[in-house]
Amino acid sequence: MSALQELLALPDRRDNPYVKEWKDSGRRIVGSACGYVPEELIWASGLLPYRVECRGCTETNLADVYMHRFNCTYARCILQAGLSGEYDFLDGFCFLNGCEQIRRMYEIWDKHINTDYLYMITVPHSIYEGGFKWYEEEILNFREQLRTNFGKRISDDSVREAIKVYNESRRLVEKLYDMRKAEDVPLSGADAMRIVLSAFHMPRDRYNELLAEALGEIESSGEHVEYSARLMVGGSAMDDPHLLEIIEDLGGVVVTDSLCYGSRHFLNLVEENGNPIQALAKRYYYHNPCPRMLGEYDNRLKFNEEMARGADVDGIILQKIVFCDTHGADNVMLTEDLEEMGIPVLTLEREYMLSDIGRFRTRIEAFMERIARR
């Protein structure tokens, strides 16, 4: 199997050989559910950071006991996976007060799921100097907690090494995004998403090797995707390439995104010199803000516009999971402002699990008629 094939296949596999190998060698894994958790610290502790997701989730009957139907299905699917034992391989889980639903999952997890180590990092909801200081202290506390619980001292040098490894991923993923900006798009958005998602579920140094090789394969293949419109996708947490396949089956090609499982997770390098904890805090706190950050709308609008114009898109699809307040409100504001800037936008509401595909197709088809260039 080539590197490219391996990265494309991993997100759809039920068994993850990297997780198995890691556990078989006696090493431990710490999960996280938000892009504000500095994975480098987990990696520097000799642990495997694992960003949870639950593609393929079809029911939430166990989670519904603790989380109501007014909680989004992204949170409920993660909880469902936890309650049904799918995350029993995790030795720890670092939660974050990312949104109302994810932050409350911490307590439910604590009381009803048997994960050895749980921690919560709290991130301020606005961006300013005092908030940065708070977040930096939170990261320092997290480092101390990891040391206490997993018994390995995390030196500044080991954090610097981790930063280098993770920055390498960021550079490679950025290269992948750059390749998709070309008029001849070398791969589908769904495949690009598969490649990116693989990063969350394997040792990052190995991922870097595979991705470097895969990029070479993509470049030398000379293949490109036929399309009638170039698209960007944004909005709520989205980690399912099959959703992008629906869009792309209708003639579009997704060439970029503003997703927290995509560009927002990977863009912005961490400074490699100086105090490594401060450098991590800076990157994670100041990176392209999630809509949870109050008073940062203008920056999010600017980021969406830059991503869209940078990839020369014909339109943007902003999706939101039902009951996602942050993206629910942001999508309305963004739609109005991006349309005013001359960028067509389609907003879609969905559940985390794949459903209601017929309605999506109809909406997307109509949008494609509006924006198609060929």
Binding site: V65, Y66, M67, H68, F70, N71, C72, A75, N97, C99, E100, Q101, R103, R104, M105, Y106, E107, I108, K111, M120, T122, P124, H125, S126, Y128, G130, G131, W134, E137, P291, R292, L294, G295, Y297, D298, K320, V322, F323, D325, T326, G328, A329, D330, V332, M333, T335, T347
Partner: protein
């Protein structure tokens, strides 16, 4: 019967409503409209200019406040609300900067800086409590812009009223980052849509010294930002005066809270939404006066050994682990009269009895005290951090007030609550063995769980659990 906010602002309507209510309450022997000759008689005696307003008011609300048992506190509410409304209108008239603020923020600082703060949530809440059409027009207006129905109705209502032009546009917005994303997002929308500066104030997740210091620093940042925006500076004596009113408010609030432990409970349930309304005005003399008047009214009942349920009915004491609704205040009176159900406390009206008074000796001590107060304000205290605080507060209420049942009427938009109410009901059941009712509602939008449905849900629970 529309709300007729078209040619009058909502604040002006509130003023007329309070004047009208005091006029009605002033009528000798009027404890029941039907006995008195019905609504027609009121039409005959109402002063000119009040008729239209009278038609806007929920008829059942009028029937409730004129009852003999409710009169003293109704008078206290209406008189102080009229004073408070006049205070707001005079502030607006004078041209001082207007701030819309989220409930549970240190508005004493605004008064000390020559800024008129009005609670963004009060606008929707009081309108929902008083009028037939409530806040639904505002909600529909903002939802017509595409905003999701699952955002909070209290901000949606006010946001819609802003678009309708029935409340004035503020000069600045003050928002703590607690309790939820839903509220944060509509403040952000308001700032963006109306081009108004927004000052966020952080809400630390923990309750340790580091968190108090962090919040104090953020309050200082808020003062600096307000100074920069308005050019006004902080007057220490003014701050002392308004912090004093706030202390008085909390003192009487807690005293009344303690009286509710008496059996039979001497305090009626509809006071809880009314308390929240006045907590939004903490730091004003009107808020302090309301809680003092309320305490005196409840104490008088307690001293006579009187309860709020009809004689001969067995009292069932309910703790509301989340919140009240305010679109149907007579519901609480109905629970008392029909089912003998009394109301202990809810998240929006529970103060930790040990919260303490603010030391007014210096600006620094007042800021420290305000930070601690914000961390302990009802709802802020429970929603700011881990759920343990919320759950343990209601263990305290259930045990301390000898509650017979826990009611978790969940406000649709509160995602954080929907993810903890099972934990709360499990814990309280395990600790005390009392039954729990969990159901869906919206605190302000009556269309979600209409009054009749609300009565059916809670009524059936009472009938089946306490046969």
């Amino acid at each position: 019967m529309g709300n007729n906010h078209k040619d009058r602002t909502i604040f002006e309507n509130w003023k007329t409503t309070m004047e009208l209510a005091l006029f009605v309450l002033d009528q000798e022997g009027l404890y029941n409209l039907e006995d008195w000759g019905g609504r027609e008689v009121i039409y005959d005696i109402l002063p000119e200019g009040m008729l239209e307003n009278f038609d806007m008011i929920q008829p059942a609300l009028v029937d409730t406040i004129i009852k003999e048992k409710n009169r003293p506190s109704a008078e206290a509410f209406c008189k102080n609300m009229l004073d408070y409304t006049n205070f707001m209108l005079e502030g607006l008239e004078s041209g001082i900067p207007l701030a819309y603020n989220y409930f549970a923020i240190s508005v004493e600082l605004c008064f000390a800086m020559g800024i008129m703060p009005i609670c963004y949530e009060l606008i929707c809440g009081l309108t929902a409590a008083l009028y037939n059409n409530g806040c639904e027009e505002g909600i529909d207006r903002i939802e017509a812009e595409g905003y999701p129905d699952h955002l909070c109705s209290t901000q949606k209502g006010t946001a819609g009223f802003l678009l309708m032009g029935v409340v004035p546009k503020p000069d600045l917005l003050l928002k703590p980052t607690t309790p939820c994303d839903a509220s944060n997002k509509l403040y952000e929308w308001t700032a963006h849509e109306l081009n108004i500066p927004l000052i966020p104030i952080e809400s630390p997740y923990y309750r340790d010294e580091r968190s108090i210091k962090y919040l104090m620093d953020d309050i200082k940042r808020m003062i600096e930002a307000m100074e920069k925006l308005t050019g006004n500076t902080l007057d220490e004596d003014k701050l002392r005066e308004h912090v004093g009113y706030g202390n008085e408010t909390v003192e009487y609030f807690i005293k009344t809270q303690e009286l509710k432990k008496i059996m039979p409970c001497p305090d009626t349930g509809w006071h809880r939404p009314a308390d929240t309304i006045f907590l939004t005005g903490i730091g004003t003399p009107m808020s302090a006066a309301y809680f003092k008047n309320l305490y005196e009214a409840v104490k008088a009942k307690a001293d006579k050994g009187e309860g709020v349920i009809p004689e001969g009915k067995k009292e069932k004491r309910f703790a509301w682990g989340y919140t009240w609704e305010c679109y149907d205040l007579p519901f609480f009176d109905w629970l008392e009269e029909e089912h003998g159900v009394t109301y202990m406390a809810d998240t929006l009206t529970y103060f930790d009895p040990d919260v303490g008074m603010i030391d007014t000796s210096s600006v620094e001590t007042m800021i420290e005290g305000l930070a601690w107060r914000v961390m302990n304000m009802p709802m802020g205290r429970q929603t700011m951090g881990f759920s343990d605080m919320w759950i343990s507060d209601f263990e305290t209420v259930v045990k301390g007030h000898k509650a017979d049942a826990l009611i978790l009427g969940g406000h649709m938009a509160c995602k954080h609550f929907w993810a903890l109410n099972k934990l709360m009901s499990d814990k309280i059941k395990e600790q005390t063995g009392i039954p729990c009712l969990r159901f869906e509602m919206d605190m302000f939008d009556k269309r979600f769980t209409p009054p009749a449905e609300l009565r059916r849900i809670v009524g059936e629970f009472v009938e089946t659990t306490f046969p």
